[in-house]
């Protein structure tokens, strides 16, 4: 019997599933989850990345304390600078 694995599953089961709209697509995540954790979980490129949370841009320093909830809308885009 693998106690580590069982306790991991138990913790996973106790976490609530939430649905987020990420770049227009419905996706399911386990709560609690922050913006930074979402970026890490989905292995998104962070260089040049900006994120809007419910249509308001969130500074990089606030990603880790922005806690996501069911129904939230996340838009991830790459900043451009050319002219």
């Amino acid at each position: 019997m693998n106690h580590t694995s069982d306790s991991h599953i138990s913790i996973e089961n106790s976490r609530q599933r939430i649905e987020l709209v990420v770049n227009g697509e419905n996706k399911t995540y386990l709560s609690p989850i922050t913006l930074l954790e979402l970026v890490m979980r989905d292995a998104l490129r962070q260089e040049g990345t900006a994120i809007a949370y419910n249509q308001s841009i969130v500074s990089r320093c606030q990603w880790s304390n922005t806690h996501l909830k069911d129904g939230d809308q996340i838009d991830i885009f790459t900043l451009v600078a050319g002219g």
Partner: protein, 254 residues
Amino acid sequence: MLNKDDIRRYSRQLLLEEIDEDGQQNLFNAHAVVIGLGGLGSLVARFLVGAGVGAGAGSLTLVDGDVVDVSNLHRQASFNETYLGDLKTRALHCELNKVNPAVNLAIKSQFADETNLPDIVSAATCVIDCTDSISTRMEINRACVKAQIPLFITAASGLSWQSVNLPCGDSETSCGCYHCLVSQIKVDENCSSHGILGPVVGMAACHQATQALLFLAKRHLTKIQWGEYIVGNAINGTTNSFHLPPLPNCEVCQ
């Protein structure tokens, strides 16, 4: 009071309530500054000159230290092969004079930087940032915030374009500045490293020129949106708009 020639020249835009005769006078008397004369700036300037910006007591200042290169011609619609190797300021001055000689054009054949920007923006009604460098954009933002001058920023790369209108300090709008947006993000995109399709930068320039003209015509009575960051996708033809809030303790705007 507009004369007969003015009414004939500007008749199509005078029909718009967002311009009308009062707005046209404001365009004549505006001091607009376009920084960067590449794909964005050369087209923005063309539209502003056509609309009569600076054709009265005002002026239109063109700022760039670059020269016309053959690799520019696919997207920088105001230039052609006869200008290869020429300063963009001089080439554009020559072309714009053919469009509307009544506009008081000023040229500054220099790259904008922290030392010359306070002078460049000092008398501006608005500044239009058409550069292609993050560091220059941040310096332009800093100078405009300090001088409380509205700033119109647009950028394009690949098949995407982005834009934001930033108000001067006395606006009632609560929004951040360009520093709030990019200070913690490393952005290395520019046209030379990621490519750009000519019409995409043209779409961006058309949006930027429209926003600037609506502001210059009606100033703070305009209904344009401040502090909304627009992300345009040229593949599927969509745009999304996101509010740009002030960054707590922003060293530039807070």
